[in-house]
Point group: C2
Chain length 198, copies 2
Amino acid sequence: MGVKEQRERKPRADVQRNRAALLEAAQRHFLRDGVGASLEAVAKEAGVGPATLYRHFPTREALLAAVLQTRSEELVARRAEIARLADASERLRQWLRAMEEYFSAFSGLPEPLMAAAREREPDNPLTLPCDDLIATTEEYLRAAQTAGLARPSVTGYDLYLAAVSTAWISGTGATDEESLGRLRTLIESGYREQNDKG
Amino acid sequence: MGVKEQRERKPRADVQRNRAALLEAAQRHFLRDGVGASLEAVAKEAGVGPATLYRHFPTREALLAAVLQTRSEELVARRAEIARLADASERLRQWLRAMEEYFSAFSGLPEPLMAAAREREPDNPLTLPCDDLIATTEEYLRAAQTAGLARPSVTGYDLYLAAVSTAWISGTGATDEESLGRLRTLIESGYREQNDKG
DNA sequence: AACAAAACGGAGGCTGACTCCGTACAGGAT
DNA sequence: ATCCTGTACGGAGTCAGCCTCCGTTTTGTT
């Protein structure tokens, strides 16, 4: 007795409708204005009041995380493709690039990402995805190191930070694609083992 | 006739007093709260109304640039010391470190710095200092390249970007000093020429 | 001491974050 | 088909910060 499982009351129709409308509007605004977009504007565009937005997504980070979910799935798919590559060095390189693009989904995204890492509040909806990303980086890096293709002193977290930085720079919009390319090359030269043999 | 030089009316005493009070208060607040600190709070602490703050410093960037002036002078001094070092590689390394510390003066400083670079409005008071910094980096880098100590494909702007990124990461407060050190090493390995002879 | 220019500061308009609470409505029970 | 209950809604309202207008005060000069 006591614990009536109650199964779960299926979610109301308007709830699902509003949630979907909010996510769509939020994505548009984050794309246009970056992660600092006005949440009131998002609510208005979704055709709901501000309270409804906050009921669905208590914080800006929660909304961001929900919108990011789609992208996150793309990244997982890409990770699967990358895993099939033969060259460990190439796997690492492409994974870093994939992460960077993920971080560049919206202008200013790296900021709340790092904030989540700082606070380490487990309720921050951005924390968990990041931990996964770091673990995966670690994995690909280790393979490259074992093959003698990456310096042993480098860590997965280092490369994760490098990817976030690059995405941050890219998001500021102050730098052309050519400079970004050179910056990536610089980082690659930084972690690569350059023994002209093992 | 016509152009009465008027010499210059010496600046009023209250103007100087208020300016000094504002700068001091601003520095405190930027240190505590980062570059996003409340300007109203700064004005209040300086004992002036908001209008006075905006009269002295029309934009947040103007105030930031003025507060940064002191640090800027420290950087110039440090540059002079560095110039005396014998090793071109060491000069470059220390210069990059000095820039990074300068960028880390206040949390969030890299953001408006890059924004200034993006807009390229010559009236942005942060633009000019940056151009100088890039030029100096270029100079030290070129010396290192000539000595065969740095890759020829790297540019001064690349290293400037790398320094800004590192400062940005540092400013997020999400990363311990050890990781930052490894990141710096990574970058250094990235631009260094690793011929075991020239 | 008187004057004019320069500078001041508070009140107020604006935008965006976030909440409270009376109302409307969806969906199961009759 | 209707009732009934709890869930969700949304607008009005509070709060904080940015920035400006304009009547008043201060300052240096004559």
